[in-house]
């Protein structure tokens, strides 16, 4: 596949591996602990595990798998809200497939579907709008989740519904924002991240500038990164170069996709439909100020939260979960008491076990269930 295969080339990967080892060896004498480099995005976590990138790195580099998996960080109370909406007889509840298995306090959407709720997986929010067109006597709700990458698609779908005068379509908006979340990670007292691989597809929408504060205020190097294995290795090499030269800049490795100023039509659609929430509750991380968006009052007719009554109960995370510490790089998944035991991909307890993009599920699925000296 064009623009994919070229970025999986083994020879270039070996070159990058050598270059990374060389720079890491030069940096090692200045370190008292391994360098901690965070990939924020669950998509990157997935690539890192799928291609065994951690095993290609020297011991002096540790990857920390960040909180950028929207399915993982969805709190149980929000899943309960989804189930409550989906169980209304007039509703067709539509969602991306990833969200089906996320546990609520009683059940997941998958279990609710088995119990008879009309829940349908759709590839695109546009498909949900199509269902609304075809079923004028039903209420079609789309479960909008994801970071800025996905916000334009739901915003544009709402705008299209408005243009067509479709009144039986609404959005249950649970979108989250990247910058306040990275800031929350950086502000946590036990934080010791030395550099960031920034999410390429978020940057494709919001551009490079929103990441400047990480370089300027927190003095951490950051590289906007693509999703193929060469992209990740290339960006790690760029991060090490910055560290070697004592620089902390925002650099863009993913220039084939990410324009410096992001995507103007996408940003316009977002700001037309959405506004920042005061705070949003995250599974594993607690409440983070300004880390979510809701629909503007002008689009209340398309807002499932306003159109239907949503229980919106706060359900505490299981006490035994240590997802927050894993996400900040304080502990590894296998250091958590319930990892691989009560908490496993079949019956996830914590956020990071829910989706294959979560750090704990990635460790579990790739057989890293016991602490060893070679994989961390």
């Amino acid at each position: 596949m064009k623009f994919v295969d070229e970025f999986r080339d083994t020879k270039k990967a070996q070159t990058l591996k050598k270059a990374i080892h060389k720079l890491a060896a030069r940096l090692a004498p200045t370190q008292t602990r391994p360098l901690q480099l965070m990939e924020f995005c669950g998509g990157h976590t997935h690539t890192i595990f799928r291609y065994g990138i951690e095993q290609m790195l020297p011991d002096s580099i540790e990857m920390v798998h960040g909180p950028g998996c929207p399915v993982c960080v969805l709190p149980m109370g929000r899943v309960d809200d989804c189930v409550a909406l989906a169980e209304r007889p007039e509703v067709i509840f539509t969602t991306f497939g990833d969200a089906m298995r996320v546990p609520g306090s009683h059940k997941s959407l998958l279990q609710a579907k088995a119990d008879g709720a009309d829940i349908r997986m759709t590839y695109s929010p546009m498909d949900a709008l199509g269902l609304a067109r075809k079923n004028p006597d039903r209420e079609v709700i789309f479960f909008g989740l994801g970071f800025e990458t996905t916000m334009p698609s739901t915003a544009l779908t709402v705008l299209q519904a408005e243009r067509e005068g479709i009144t039986n379509f609404s959005l249950f908006c649970n979108h989250i924002t990247t910058v306040p979340t990275i800031k929350a990670v950086l502000d946590s007292p036990d934080m010791q991240i030395d550099g960031f691989l920034a999410p390429g597809h978020v940057a494709m929408v919001i551009g490079e500038r929103p990441f400047d504060f990480i370089a300027e205020d927190y003095e951490k190097p950051l590289v906007i990164t693509g999703f193929e294995p060469l992209d990740i290795l290339h960006s790690l090499w760029m991060l090490l170069q910055q560290l070697d030269e004592n620089r902390h800049d925002v650099e863009n490795q993913y220039t084939r996709i990410v324009p410096e100023n992001g995507n103007t039509p996408a940003l316009e659609a977002i700001s037309k439909v959405f506004e920042i929430r005061d705070f949003f509750e995250w599974r594993g991380l607690g409440s983070i100020d300004h880390s979510g968006v809701k629909m503007k009052q002008a689009y209340a007719a398309y807002d499932a939260e306003q159109k239907f009554s949503v229980p919106n109960l706060k359900i505490a995370d299981p006490k035994s979960c240590q997802c927050g510490e894993v996400v900040k790089g304080v502990i590894k998944p296998w250091d958590c008491k319930i990892f691989g035991k009560e908490c496993n991909p079949e019956t996830p307890m914590g956020a990071l076990m829910v989706s294959s993009e979560g750090a704990c599920a990635a460790y579990y699925n790739n057989g890293y269930t016991l602490k060893t000296g070679t994989t961390g």
């Binding site: 998509g43 998996c69 929408v205």
Partner: protein
Amino acid sequence: MCLGIPGQIIEITDTEKQLAKVDVSGIKREINIACIIDAEHPVDACVGDWVLVHVGFAMSRIDEDEAARTLKILEELGEVEEEMQAMQQGAR
């Protein structure tokens, strides 16, 4: 969740709704192209564009020159590594 896949626009299907057919490795489906059009690149100019497709929306036009430039950097890095290795071996 945030993943995208490259595809090529083969046909505009609805100019007003800004819809087009995209070919992703032989799989064809209709996508929304509102995010890749502007005054300088109107709907009709999109046929043939390589785009990144995310949940049924073209989210970015892929810059072929930039893709080539990134690969060239890596190519050259390999050449430098090889040359340095040869130098090191020659010095022994």
